[in-house]
Symmetry: C2
């Protein structure tokens, strides 16, 4: 045993990573929010080659001296681009090929993040016009993207829409405090269809992932609406069925 350990030590002493050709490795983010009643994704303009001047998803290479792991690299990138610290962040998928980056064989770990548009301050980046929100309504307003970021964005959107059907995820797109009607609107925006109010509220109630903020109300020229928030430390809830279908109800 001590012999094997010794042998392994010797192996590691002489091992040199630079003897092998390895791909480039980066982390990219699909950051979504709801703004102006639309689902929007964050894009940045590339300041360097390759694809200088083109829009793309925010991302960067892994810094092996400072990033402890992939999640840390994603969080760092998110902080650098948006100033936001602890939103909903989940790894989507990896992409990699010999042709997606002109610099050579490259891989990227794509994360998707959900944040509320009120926490975020896009000026943060330094050069203000190099970062923008881009609405996802009719697809053609999305500019051409660098690398393979267009198909990556498609996959991210698909995953988001899919998860919205059966999870409590959309709550992360809203500010900390919100009304049930606001939450319902988020579901409707992402899904692109109307949802029955009664069924929606039953579902949310049974999921039991929100708490009422006693005595806190959203006022207007109508009956006040109860404010809610996600329960502290609440994990994402998975419903056993899909979101109920379209309805004639407004």
């Amino acid at each position: 045993m001590s012999n094997a350990k010794q042998s392994e030590k010797e192996f590691l002493r002489t091992y040199n990573i630079h003897d092998y050709e390895v791909p480039l490795t980066s982390v990219d983010l699909a950051i979504f929010t709801i703004k102006d009643q639309l689902l929007q994704v964050l894009l940045v303009k590339r300041g360097d080659h390759p694809f200088k001047g083109k829009w793309c998803l925010p991302g960067g290479f892994i810094d092996i001296h400072h990033d402890a792991d992939l999640d840390a690299a994603a969080l760092r990138t998110l902080r650098e681009k948006t100033g936001v610290d602890a939103p909903y962040l989940e790894q989507l998928q990896g992409f990699g090929s010999g042709v997606r980056d002109p610099r050579g064989w490259s891989t990227t770990f794509v994360y998707f993040a959900l944040i509320s548009s009120d926490q975020i301050d896009l000026i943060h980046g330094g050069n203000a016009d190099a970062v923008r929100w881009c609405a996802i309504d009719d697809q053609n307003v999305i500019p051409p993207l660098a690398f393979d970021h267009k198909p990556i964005l498609e996959v991210a959107l698909q995953r988001l829409r899919n998860k919205v059907e059966y999870t409590s995820l959309p709550a992360h797109l809203l500010p900390e405090e919100f009304t049930l009607t606001e939450l319902q609107q988020v579901y409707q925006i992402v899904l692109g269809r109307l949802v029955d109010k009664s069924a929606f509220r039953k579902r949310i109630r049974e999921g039991d992932f929100l708490e009422e903020l006693e005595g806190k109300w959203r006022y207007g020229s109508n009956r006040p609406a109860q404010l809610h928030r996600l329960r502290k430390g609440q994990d994402t809830v998975y419903f056993s069925r899909l979101m109920s279908g379209e309805t004639s109800a407004k």
Copy 2:
């Protein structure tokens, strides 16, 4: 425009990947099958450092000269370890950190594959005892695994069990031709609970992803059972609800 192109060309001419420190990149596979009425995962014994002699999930480094993309690298690895060519293969997730491999910062793209145990010939590897099926029943029979492969396997299992709840995936764990009862047993084995026969069959019928093999039957000392197979070119079907719950029915 031609100016920008020129500038990009110049950039690429002088770009040298070896000026940067990048992580190691590999592909690992969680290959599942049903054997002896149990869910089993394929393990290989490491023949080299690090972790020489320890069991782990099959995998290997990306070969940037021969692998076109990640999927190709995964398929190649699968073929090398099992001789199987075209099973169900899907990317699970990426893992990466500075500590998971003693050789340095490393990342791995984990795929999971479903194959039928009858297509596969483990002798293929060359050194026969260095590869084995390991049953997933009570967890403690799984040996300690190299790297972070134990938690990776946990994630793969969780994903598999989860997907079985609402997709047609388990059909890939069976040979090409099978009876509905055999398919039901696969669901039961993976889920670890019984499923109602009537509800199960209704579900499968409505999913409409199988075809009856006319005139082909499984015989025994009882009523013969109709053989089925997956429709050609059939994608995975997603049910709108979870698999129906436990029942007292045998």
